[in-house]
């Protein structure tokens, strides 16, 4: 790579349904490298070759002479499709100077720990209850894939927390601001990346954001997970029950329904609990069908897919949203940030976002990670975009075609590269069958 004018290059690796981007900035002695994420989703491995081979290729590409080297490794968030690659032992011999992660990964920050524990506990409970249920319909498969993406990814996270060569220190972003300063946006320069200004736009620490990071998950999952599927102790004493309880309820109901049908209910006759035959007549007076009971039963059951999505979204909500600015280049890497982070960024850093001339499309081009208002109203006409994605049979809405069309529609010069398409617009350079490069002048 020897461009005539000074520039920054961004390489997108085809990891499949996942993210891995390598940024190269000019430096005084040697080019400086930033690696953002390396992972793949259980639902979509790369087609051309196993994921492992992609990681091996990436490791080889990092070589500077004998030594593989990265100045900054950025972990946008702990999802498998962003970190799985760091399980590879090869990383322990890569010299890394610093690791940047969202503040939610801070090992001792109590709020961060609480969030991680809640997310992990809930993912485990839903996974356990799903496994117990034995469900295998399409939504159960979706839920399982999503949950797998959300498991703790402990091995990869261990590598990121000081596992590289040189045991690099980690920075948790945004960092606590100086007194009187807002938390976001936060801008800093690092000696590792001369001339580059890094702007942190998320995740926030405000109440609403933290609440979004703590996903709503129904009690039934915890019950199932802790009691092996059977319900726990009943909330009210046995003596108040008029029916059989638990497993025997069904046959009791059938018997009582039949008896009720036989006697019927005559409103002109008094209905007194101590009278013989009360139960059947009273049950008839309720006009309660088995269908009604079924509906209440249904309300008591939570949807594993909805719970899995809630957890998925909560973890996406911890995404580090960064802008790298050098000269004229304004590179936006939103991770898989969700609406809350975007909304805040569009309010507090709009002028900066308007200057974006490189965009990593969030969350594999799905609908909820690139707000329409950002695409329509904030983004200009002069930008390139890359989307790391894969069309899967099961998640048909990813990538979302109207979004990609809207992005291209905005561009003065077509410039959207997809990791899963061999042909790329002229603005990009295909390095190999698994790697595409963008160049942005500075």
């Amino acid at each position: 790579m020897s461009p005539a004018a000074p520039s920054v290059s961004i390489r997108m690796y085809d990891v499949g349904f996942g993210d891995s981007f390598l940024l190269t900035f000019p430096g005084p002695d040697r080019p400086r490298k930033v690696l953002i994420d390396c992972g793949v989703h259980p639902a979509g491995p790369p087609e051309a070759r196993p994921f492992k081979d992609v990681v091996v290729q990436l490791l080889a590409d990092l070589k500077e002479g004998d030594e593989a080297r990265v100045d900054v490794v950025v972990c946008s968030h702990r999802h498998r499709d962003h970190v799985l690659g760091f399980e590879n032992e090869g990383w322990s011999s890569v010299r890394v100077s610093e690791v940047w992660m969202p503040w939610t990964e801070h090992p001792t920050d109590p709020e961060a720990r609480k969030i991680r524990e809640a997310q992990a506990k809930k993912a485990a409970a839903v996974a356990a209850s799903l496994a117990l249920s034995g469900a295998s319909d399409e939504n159960a498969v979706r839920a399982r894939d999503l949950l797998e993406n959300n498991l703790t990814n402990a091995k990869a996270m261990a590598m990121l927390h000081g596992g590289f060569a040189g045991h690099p220190p980690a920075r948790f972003l945004p960092e606590p601001p100086a007194a009187g300063q807002p938390l976001l946006p936060q801008s800093f320069k690092s000696p590792l990346l001369p001339d580059v200004t890094v702007h942190v736009l998320g995740p926030s620490r405000d109440r609403a954001t933290i609440r979004d990071m703590n996903p709503p998950v129904g009690e039934s999952f915890f019950r199932a997970a802790s009691a092996g599927g059977s319900s726990g102790a009943a909330p009210l004493d046995d003596r108040w029950a008029i029916s059989a309880r638990g497993a025997e309820f069904k046959s009791w109901l059938k018997k009582t329904e039949q008896a009720a049908k036989k006697v019927g209910f005559d409103p002109s006759q008094p209905l007194v609990p101590t009278d013989p035959g009360f139960l059947a007549r009273w049950f008839a007076s309720l006009e309660l069908s088995g269908q009604d009971i079924g509906k209440v039963d249904h309300f008591a059951t939570d949807s594993p897919l909805a719970a899995a999505v809630a957890i998925e979204q909560a973890v996406n909500g911890t995404s580090l949203m960064l802008v790298f600015e050098i000269g004229r280049a304004v590179l936006l890497f939103p991770g898989d940030a969700q609406w809350g982070t975007w909304d805040n960024a569009m309010t507090t850093a709009r002028a900066l976002l308007e200057r974006t001339n490189f965009l990593k499309v969030g969350h594999h081009g799905s609908h909820n990670a690139s707000p329409k208002s950002f695409v329509n109203d904030v983004l200009g006409a002069d930008f390139q975009a890359m989307v790391s994605t894969r069309t899967t049979k099961i998640f048909k809405q990813i990538p979302r075609r109207p979004l990609l069309e809207a992005l291209v529609g905005k561009q003065a010069v077509p410039g959207l590269a997809r990791s899963d398409e061999p042909a790329v617009p002229a603005a990009f350079k295909r390095i190999s069958d698994i790697c595409v490069e963008a160049t942005v002048a500075i």
Binding site: S220, P235, R245, P273, F299
Partner: protein
């Protein structure tokens, strides 16, 4: 022997404070209409069924007519006896129904004349909701977290059904759904927020009408009667159980409300709390005005009360004023319903409805209720379409020019039937049963009203190409504070553009338009509140769907069926998973 006269009212005990909130229990006795009851309790409109889907149990029903129960004003409050829980949900639900009946001036039945089913222990979950499909309210119970129990004792079982506020809130959802079924359709960002906020207004202000509760709180002020903290604290405590408490607290403690709130807050519960805080503001300013003279009398004009306990008579008088004001506000807020369009409600519409409904009852605002209400909404940035300034006159819905007459044939007949149904005289029958004949007749009225709507489409702002359907027709009888009987006819006509049903931009929400028509007893139309089926409105609706799409984490992962009906699925989730 002569039979004993049947008592008009039935006293029933409930918990005064939510035991969830840890405030020392306390009990109050509500009095509700004495209707014939079956064990459950099962009455004309409310049916309590104690089925628990988690433990698969049906609990024994309470018999409120048992002499042992009658002698003690119902069972004593108990957290462990489900029969008390059944009694409490029944009493609170009935109170809500009665407050609606009083305010609206007509008797009330639920959808398809079904009874509202209440399941006090439906499942184990920290949740409670109204389900429109079942016409049922389901309450959950849960074990307080061992490590992070919140206001509860660790590991204690918490029943949502023994909270007055949660019960009143959920039953209000059912009432709103009955009065305006299309308010379940999220056509703009205010619709569900209105449902939530209004449900909290009813819960909080109904709770405020219980004088003995207020007396305790007022005694605690130790003379600081002008500070909103005590009543605000109480309101926030009530709101905590149902979701708006935190916002309410901020509204009360944070000084001036933020005028950007309305533009920035989108989550339905939080947005709903804008409404709650505005209504509370209005309540508080009227209340302060009303106790001024009492404070002057008690302090010899200095306005400074001595430290220490207040005189119990003074406490009682002040509590009476507070409770009366709460009741006025509650009535005003419910009465506004008649003046709401049938679809696509906004907070602005609601403010206009409040002001107009009150104006139509009392022309002068010497009680200051309307002015306070307008001011409280304005301070929170609530906007009214096409209204430049927020003076009372411009806030009121514009009166229609005379000329349009609701001259559909059975007008007189309809008036007579409704009058009999709402006869509250001492010799009335306890239950007015609608005969098959009346029902059939109502069907005929509807047809003739629909024809009237179609014939007058232009004057009503309806689309002449689409058939209107009657969503409701009522005759309203109410007594103004001046003692006059006010009679009104209210009809709701709704149209749907069915061609837009499968439009992906709407995600399953129908394209609806319609109008509410209000006429006097002579059939002269006084107001027509129209939401036309215009391109402009549909564009707003599509824009709202697009905004929801951005925030919906489910969209990328779910199947196409979800995508097609995604707004329905979201509304369902918001209503059913609102309380966690």
């Amino acid at each position: 022997m002569q039979p004993y006269p049947r008592p008009e009212r039935r006293p029933l005990q409930i918990f005064a404070f939510d035991p969830m909130l840890g405030r020392a229990g306390g009990r109050i006795t509500l009095s509700v209409q004495n209707e014939p009851l079956l064990p459950g309790p099962q009455g004309n409109r409310i049916q309590v069924i104690d089925y628990d889907a988690t433990s698969k149990t049906l609990y024994a029903p309470v018999d409120l007519d048992d002499p042992a129960v009658l002698m003690t004003d119902g069972l004593d409050p108990s957290e462990s006896d489900p029969r008390f829980h059944q009694q409490m949900v029944y009493a609170v639900a009935m109170k809500v129904v009665e407050n609606f009946e009083e305010a609206l001036g007509r008797s009330f039945t639920f959808k398809d004349r079904k009874r509202l089913r209440i399941f006090p222990h439906a499942f184990e979950d920290a949740n409670a909701f109204y389900d429109p499909g079942m016409v049922a309210v389901l309450f959950g119970y849960f074990r307080a977290d061992e490590a992070n129990p919140g206001p509860n004792l660790p590991g204690q079982t918490v029943f949502t059904c023994v909270s007055h506020d949660i019960v009143a809130h959920e039953v209000t959802h059912a009432m709103v759904d009955r009065l305006r079924p299309n308010f379940m359709e999220e056509t703009n960002g205010d619709v569900l927020a209105f449902h939530e906020g209004f449900a909290d207004v009813v819960a909080i202000f109904q709770h405020f009408t219980f004088r003995s509760i207020l007396a305790g709180a007022i005694q605690e002020t130790h003379g600081q009667l002008r500070s909103p903290n005590v009543l605000g604290e109480l309101a926030a405590q009530f709101g905590r159980a149902t979701g708006t408490g935190r916002a309410l607290r901020t509204a009360i403690e944070g000084g001036a409300p933020d005028p950007r709130l309305y533009d920035t807050v989108t989550e339905p519960h939080e947005r709903g709390s804008i409404l709650v805080a505005a209504v509370f503001d209005a309540f508080f300013s009227v209340y302060q005005e009303r106790i001024k003279d009492l404070v002057r009398i008690a302090t010899g004009g200095t306005g400074r009360l001595p430290e220490g306990d207040l005189h119990p008579d003074l406490v009682d008088r002040i509590a009476r004023e507070a409770s009366k004001t709460a009741k006025n506000i509650l009535t005003m807020c419910i009465r506004a319903f008649e003046y709401l369009p049938p679809v696509d409600v906004t907070f602005g519409d609601y403010l206009r409805a409040i002001v107009t409904a009150d104006y139509e009852t009392v022309i002068s605002d010497d009680r200051g209720l309307r002015a306070s209400m307008v001011e409280a909404f304005r301070l929170r940035g609530v906007k009214l379409d096409g209204v430049p300034s927020l003076g009372e006159e411009s806030v009121r819905w514009p009166r229609r020019d005379p000329g349009l007459r609701l001259d559909f044939a059975p007008l007189d007949e309809a008036l007579g039937v409704s009058a009999r149904a709402f006869d509250r005289g001492p010799h009335r029958k306890t239950r007015v049963v609608e005969s098959e004949g009346t029902r059939k007749k109502q069907g005929e009225w509807a047809k003739s009203l629909e024809k009237w709507g179609a014939d007058n489409a232009a004057a009503l702002g309806l689309d002449p190409k689409l058939e209107p359907r009657v969503e409701g027709f009522h005759t309203v009888f109410r007594v103004s504070p001046g003692g006059q009987l006010v009679v009104e006819l209210v009809a709701q006509l709704v149209q749907e553009d069915k061609a837009k049903r499968d439009d992906p931009a709407f995600g399953g929400v129908p394209a609806l338009g319609g109008c509410t028509v209000i006429a006097d007893a002579g059939g002269n139309v006084r107001y027509v509140l129209t939401k036309p089926l215009s391109e402009e409105r549909l564009a707003v609706q599509a824009d709202f769907v697009a905004r929801c799409d951005e925030q919906d984490g489910m969209l990328p992962w779910a199947d196409e069926a979800y995508s097609r009906l995604r707004m329905k699925a979201r509304s369902f989730a918001r209503l059913h998973r609102g309380r966690r």
